[in-house]
Every structure is written in structure tokens, then in C-alpha cells.
């Protein structure tokens, strides 16, 4: 395809930017536009091909007084992947765009994982990668990688800046694209000679994308029609047992308030996905916490029992609907609200859909229902839900002398009163944290849901703490996950970022071990870490943690957790947990909810044998 000129979409008339018309380097334009967009923190690692832009940040800050709020805080990770997850944590906690800045080649390729992670969880971030000069591109130059090709396959959108005159508009458009519609990451591949180019700063303007703008304008203007609302309420009226199934889309759309209002107005219980945790106060009567593979028994029973399923900002992913044909088998109707038209009918056919902003859709539904005086009584169903919660709560081994991980999380949740921001790695500890923590508000639960990236927790916590310095931020991690980005322990102390790192150490990759136990006859190939030498507490001490402790004694657990949470500064606590603890409930991969395994401590509603060895190993 040929390379044609894109006109920058600068409206007629002089720009009102105070610096408009000035001569600037490309690198200076990058920093100026980032500052104009309100960027206060950049996560990143320098290197040859991005040096001019790092220099421009230095010079930008040097012109400002030390206490000037406009200064751009530069946080340097141990590895570029860490920068990416810091930007993601910053974005997830605050709703603002996270920005990271790296060099070409390995700098850029180290960012592939966070970029894909952000696409998979719909997180708006912008990555700027240095690239070798345009003339050297394609020659296998030093630290050259085909970033446009690699990132195009992973990101929401990728730019390669080939025309310096388009640079400043490209940066603005990247933010615009990252935050519009279904949010996601945008990558800008920026050749070094474009950073060094000098041109006239416009101070405004975006690139023109005609179809995108038209579709976005339509999406943003979409309201629920009265006809569609009437159809929805006809289905709700025909229903005895409606259930809301809410995902990360509720968090992204800042629709938690609208969801709670809708649910409470018509007394409809709510289950959330892993990504949707926090879309409704988990302690609310109507909240059933998480559904799916490791959802609560009562949430999964409610999905089995419901006759009308209302999906909002969720997408019938395989961790929720492992066996699509058996998912919500008694639902005579399914309604689906999503901002991404491609999600409607992708996995499951639905009877009713609304493509648009979840906040708009839910508020319009509430307004219509109130206006028309919809008052169907679902109290029998709500009573049934309450009984499910009462009779089939999460539970674990309370007799063991060993510390149970569920107990640790439950204690921590009580100590932080459901108000801490919690990040995790991936595996058993992530599921225990999802199950046993309470969250009063959205954007408190930051986890790599779709990609399932081990090593997410620590850098995400650093980013979240920088975005929300007044909140308690706890990284709940596992010994496998924390090793992935353990270099970032030092990043927290270097920058005085007071994260709390809670390591649940079970000396191995617990979740994989659990699957090996269930499906591979206990052949623990590659997942045993009992011979690993690392002393995590010494590692934390070496990285400057003023609080670095280990607890293995149940009697000391609560007292230690309390000191850990109240410690003023970065804190590290390793808890030696029962290495054989398992995550229950568990709906095996590819299985329906009626095959849910509850383990030895959760009460099933029908007496039946749990055949744990029958899960098929070829399903993921």
C-alpha cells in the first residue's frame, strides 16, 4: 500500500496554544503535547533511539520550579515490561491514560506483554517507542525491531511516524483512540530522526480518520430507544429470576453507580466477572461476587437458576462460560449491553442488545422503568439468592495448624475495610484475593484478567500508588508471579512509592500444581519450587524495605498483618502458607456449572460425588 499524506485536522483560525508558531524539536513537541494532555507521570527506560525525548523531558522539567505541579515525574523500572504494567496500574486505578516511553528494539519488544495485556483487559495506555532513524529502518540496524508489525497484532492501534509534521497530531490522536469506545493501548513508533527534526509547533489538531470518527460519534450519541427499553422490560416482566452479569466494561465506563441504581431500583441480583469486581459493592445484599471457573458457589448457582440473564460490559469469556451451550441453561432470554458491537453474538446468541456506553444504557433503562412504573416483585428470587449465600458460603480448612491463604486475605480485607486498592499476579493467590477481598468501590481491584500475566502485580501496584497516593495499595502476589518482575521491588523504594507487598509463598506454581493434581495424576512437572534458594525477606531488605518480615505462625498472623498495613512506607510481608491449599469452587475447563467442584469445605446443594480426576486435560 502506498504512503499518502494525511492532512492534520487543524481547524481554521489561529491556534490558541501559547507556544503555537514556535520552532521546536520533534522530541520537545512530544513532551509539550503530553503535558498539554495532563500527563503527570511517565514510566520508562531510556536508550539510544529515544534519547532526544528523554533529554526533552529533562529540559522541560528544568525550566520549571522544583515544586511546580506541571513537572513530569519520570519513573524508571528495572525492565520495560515493568514500565508497561506501572502505566497499566496507573490507568486502571485512576481511569486516566497511562504513558510509557521506551527505546527501540528490546525496549519495545519488552513492552509486547503489557500492550497485549492492556488490549485484552481494555485498558487505555499510550506507549511511545524510539525507533532507529527512518533511513536505517529495514536494514537490520542496531536495536531495530519491526515494532509496527509486532505491535499491530497486539495493540488497539499502532502509529509509525514517517512524517514529522504529523508528530504532534499523532500524539493527541493516540490518546483519543486509546480512550474512545472500548478502551485500549495505542503504540507510537517514533524514529530518532523525527525526534530530532525541527518544525513549527501547531498546538492543536488531530489526525483525520473518517470512518472512525463517524462510528465514534454515533456510538457516543447512542441512547436507548423507548422501543428497545419496552422490549427489555417485557422480558423482565416475563421473568421470575433475573440476574445481572457484569464485567470490566462497567468499570471502564464508570458505570458502577448506574449499575447499582438499576439493580436496586428493580431488585435484580448481580454477579460479576473477575474484571467486573468492584462494579457493585461486594457487601451489598444483591451482590453475589464473582461467577465462573473460580466463582462463588452461590454466584454460579444463581447463574444456573436464572431465567433472564442481563450481561453488561461482559463477554461470555471461556473462564465464565467454559461450556457455552450449558451456560445459564434456564435463561429464556439473554440481554447484552456492550460498547463493542463485535462482542454481541460473538459467543452466545442473545435476544436483546444495546451497543453503547454502559452508563447510558443502564441509566436509560432505570429511567424508563421508573417512568413506566415497573414494579414487578422479585422478592422470592432475592430471598432464594440470600439463602444461597447463607447456605453455600466460601469456606476453607479452619482446623489446619498451617496458615491458610484464604484466612490471610479475609483478615487483610477486614483490616483494610474493603477500601484498599489490591493488585495481584496470576494464579491461586489471585483467585483467593478475588474471592475473599471485599471492595466497596470500582478501580480497587487491579488484575490481569484476560491475558493472565504473571508478574503484573508489583509494577501495577507501583503505578496505582502513584496515581492514587492517598490510598492503601497492596500487591497480593505469589512466589511464582513475584519472581517475574522482582526487579521492581527496588523501583518502589527508589521512588519512595509506599506499596505493600504481601507474598503468599506456597513454594511453587500453585495453580498449575492444582491442575496437575486434578488432571495429570500429580506429576508436578516444572512447578515445584521447594528447592529454590531465594530468601524473599532478605531480598526486600536488600532493596531498602523498612518493613520486611516473614510469618509462618498462625498465632502471629493478624498482629503482623496489622503492622504491615499501618507501616508508613514500602512494606514487604512474606506469609508461608499451606502448600497444598487449593482454590475452590472450580468449574473445570470446558465444563458446565453443574460439574462445579466445591472441594471439602463448601457445602453443595445436591449430594453428589465429586470426581476430581475426570477433567479433560486437553482443554485449557
Amino acid at each position: 500500500m502506498s504512503i499518502a499524506t494525511t492532512e492534520s485536522r487543524t481547524p481554521p483560525g489561529a491556534s490558541t496554544h501559547p507556544l503555537a508558531g514556535q520552532q521546536m524539536m520533534g522530541a520537545e513537541m512530544v513532551v509539550q503535547v503530553l503535558a498539554d494532555l495532563g500527563v503527570d507521570t511517565i514510566f520508562g527506560y531510556s536508550g539510544g533511539a529515544i534519547l532526544p525525548t528523554y533529554d526533552a523531558i529533562f529540559r522541560y522539567n528544568a525550566k520549571l520550579a522544583d515544586d511546580d505541579a506541571k513537572r513530569i515525574n519520570l519513573i524508571v523500572p528495572a525492565n520495560e515490561q515493568g514500565a508497561g504494567f506501572m502505566a497499566a496500574g496507573y490507568s486502571r486505578a485512576s481511569g486516566r491514560v497511562g504513558v510509557f516511553l521506551v527505546t527501540s528494539g528490546p525496549g519495545a519488544t519488552n513492552c509486547v506483554t503489557p500492550i497485549r495485556d492492556c488490549t485484552a483487559d481494555s485498558i487505555p495506555v499510550v506507549l511511545i517507542c524510539g525507533q532507529v532513524p527512518r533511513a536505517a529502518m529495514g536494514t537490520d540496524a542496531f536495536q531495530e525491531a519491526p515494532v509496527f508489525n509486532i505491535m499491530s497484532a497486539c495493540a488497539k492501534h499502532t502509529f509509525l511516524v514517517t512524517k514529522p509534521e504529523e508528530l504532534e497530531a499523532t500524539i493527541r490522536s493516540a490518546f483519543d483512540i486509546a480512550t474512545s469506545g472500548r478502551p485500549g493501548p495505542v503504540v507510537i513508533d517514533l524514529p530518532k530522526d523525527v525526534q530530532n527534526w525541527v518544525g513549527t509547533f501547531q498546538g492543536e489538531g488531530l489526525l483525520e480518520f473518517r470512518g472512525f470518527e463517524k462510528r465514534r460519534a454515533q456510538l457516543e450519541a447512542t441512547r436507548l430507544t423507548d422501543e428497545a427499553a419496552a422490549e427489555f422490560f417485557a422480558m423482565l416482566a416475563a421473568s421470575q429470576r433475573p440476574l445481572l452479569y457484569c464485567g470490566g466494561g462497567i468499570i471502564n465506563a464508570d458505570a458502577a453507580g448506574a449499575l447499582s441504581e438499576f439493580a436496586r431500583a428493580f431488585r435484580i441480583p448481580v454477579v460479576t466477572t473477575l474484571m467486573g469486581i468492584g462494579s457493585m459493592d461486594t457487601t451489598d445484599d444483591l451482590a453475589l461476587h464473582m461467577l465462573g471457573m473460580h466463582g462463588t458457589a452461590f454466584a454460579n448457582y444463581a447463574v444456573e437458576d436464572c431465567d433472564f440473564l442481563i450481561a453488561a460490559g461482559s463477554r461470555f469469556d471461556d473462564r465464565v462460560a467454559g461450556k457455552v451451550s450449558e451456560f445459564a441453561p434456564n435463561a429464556r432470554n439473554i440481554a447484552h449491553l456492550d460498547i463493542d458491537a463485535a462482542e454481541i453474538g460473538k459467543v452466545k446468541n442473545v435476544s436483546w442488545s444495546f451497543v453503547g456506553d454502559a452508563k447510558v444504557g443502564l441509566s436509560d433503562l432505570t429511567a424508563y422503568g421508573r417512568r413506566t412504573g415497573f414494579a414487578k416483585d422479585f422478592s422470592k428470587w432475592v430471598e432464594h439468592i440470600k439463602a444461597l449465600k447463607r447456605n453455600h458460603p466460601l469456606d476453607y480448612n479452619r482446623e489446619s495448624p498451617l496458615i491458610q491463604p484464604q484466612e490471610v486475605i479475609a483478615l487483610l480485607s477486614r483490616i483494610t475495610k474493603g477500601e484498599a486498592i489490591v493488585t495481584t499476579g496470576v494464579g491461586q493467590h489471585q483467585m483467593w484475593a478475588a474471592q475473599y477481598f471485599d471492595f466497596v468501590n470500582p478501580r480497587q481491584w487491579l488484575t490481569s484478567g484476560s491475558m493472565g500475566t504473571m508478574g503484573f502485580g508489583l509494577p501495577a501496584a507501583i503505578g496505582a500508588k502513584l496515581a492514587c497516593p492517598d490510598k492503601t495499595v497492596i500487591c497480593v502476589d505469589g512466589d511464582g508471579s513475584i519472581r517475574m518482575n522482582i526487579g521492581e521491588l527496588e523501583t518502589a523504594t527508589t521512588n519512595g512509592v509506599a506499596v505493600k507487598v504481601l507474598l503468599l509463598n506456597n513454594q511453587g506454581d500453585g495453580m498449575v500444581r492444582q491442575w496437575q493434581r486434578l488432571m495429570f495424576k500429580e506429576r508436578f512437572s516444572g512447578t515445584d519450587k521447594t528447592m529454590h534458594m531465594k530468601d524473599f525477606v532478605k531480598a526486600a531488605e536488600a532493596d531498602g524495605y523498612g518493613f520486611a518480615e516473614r510469618v509462618a505462625d498462625r498465632a502471629r498472623l493478624q498482629e503482623t498483618l496489622e503492622r504491615f498495613v499501618s507501616y508508613d512506607g514500602p512494606a514487604f510481608l512474606e506469609v508461608r502458607i499451606d502448600p497444598d491449599a487449593m482454590v475452590f469452587p472450580m468449574v473445570g475447563p470446558g465444563a458446565g456449572y453443574k460439574e462445579m467442584m466445591l472441594g471439602p469445605y463448601i457445602k453443595p446443594r445436591e449430594a453428589r460425588d465429586e470426581k476430581m480426576g475426570e477433567v479433560k486435560a486437553d482443554l485449557f
Binding site: M1, F148, S152, A153, T158, G211, V324
Partner: protein, 181 residues
């Protein structure tokens, strides 16, 4: 794309998607990578400039159930640089054409027989030697398939196909409709 619903018999009808895109660097690479990543089985994908230098047009032919084709359309519409997607097979009557070049081995005796055989496809002879003839045919993709099937046992040596291009019949135009204010 897997289909978990399994409602009714599988439908494998033809679909022709006409896709107007911004004429930018890398659009084709991005879109073809999406088809691969999502395991969409595309029969052909063509791209070329249009009378408007800011736009290119892609034509995608795919055989599959309409809900999968619909999913392809929706995935295409997620690209920032896609201006408009139209499933011509749903939108109304359209004309699709493909050009094929075929090299066939000949002998002095077989050449008239060959010309008679393929006459109904109105081939043009674009190159000829004592051992080979290269024919050009412009037809619908289905007719091109038939043409090639016919030649299979008559010395077929090489084939180059362009993939289909297509336009709606009648005055309506995708470009005009997409860019109208």
C-alpha cells in the same frame, strides 16, 4: 471462529465484503494479520487505489455462515483506518470480477482443441510459444474456478489469479455513501 450455538445447518454461502480504508501505511498488513489471528478463512483479499487518493478499496471474499461473516465485518469496523465495510452479498445486486492468467502446455496438434475447449470463457491469448500458451480470462470467481477445472487435464502449468474485485450494481456507490457528510 468457533460456533458454539449450532442452530440449524451450517451455511457456507459466498460473501463479498467491500472495505473502504484510509490510504495509510500498513493498513493491509494490519487487516490481513487480524484475519490470521482470528482464524478467519478468507478466499481472497485484494487491495488497490481508488479515484480518491486518500482512500483504498479492499475486496474480501469469504465463504461461511452469515454470523461469522458478520463477526468479520464487525472486527473490520474496529480498525481506526477502516472507513466503511459493506457486505455486497447482503446489500443488493453486485458485480464481481477476477482476472486469471494461465499457462498451458501445448503441442502443434493440441492447440486448436484447446481453443475450442475454453471458447465459452472468451479467453485472450496474451503469450504464445511453440510449447506453451498463456491465456487471460476475466470472469466471476466461480467461472474462473470452472475455467481452471477444465484445463486441469489439458496441460495446465501455472496460474496467477488477482482475487475478486466487486462493485454494487446501479447508481449507489460505497465511496460516495461513506464520505457524504
Amino acid at each position: 471462529m468457533s460456533n458454539h450455538n449450532g442452530n440449524g445447518a451450517p451455511d457456507n454461502s459466498w460473501h463479498v465484503l467491500s472495505v473502504l480504508v484510509e490510504n495509510h501505511f500498513g493498513v493491509l498488513a494490519r487487516i490481513s494479520a487480524m484475519f490470521a489471528a482470528r482464524s478467519f478463512n478468507i478466499d481472497s483479499l485484494t487491495v488497490g487505489p481508488t479515484h480518491d487518493p486518500t482512500c483504498s478499496r479492499m475486496t474480501v471474499t469469504v465463504r461461511g455462515e452469515s454470523r461469522i461473516v458478520d463477526q468479520i465485518r464487525r472486527q473490520l469496523e474496529k480498525f481506526v483506518e477502516v472507513i466503511r465495510v459493506e457486505d455486497l452479498t447482503e446489500a443488493g445486486p453486485f458485480v464481481a470480477r477476477e482476472l486469471v492468467l494461465v499457462k498451458v502446455s501445448i503441442t502443434q496438434d493440441s492447440v486448436t482443441e484447446l481453443v475450442d475447449l475454453v471458447n465459452s470463457f472468451q479467453p485472450q491469448i496474451v503469450d504464445m510459444t511453440l510449447e506453451s500458451v498463456t491465456l487471460q480470462v476475466v470472469a466471476t470467481p466461480e467461472r474462473v474456478d470452472e475455467f481452471l477445472a477444465l484445463l486441469e487435464s489439458h496441460g495446465l502449468r501455472e496460474v496467477a489469479r488477482t482475487g475478486a474485485v466487486a462493485l454494487m450494481r446501479g447508481a449507489w456507490g460505497l465511496h460516495q455513501a461513506a464520505l457524504a457528510e
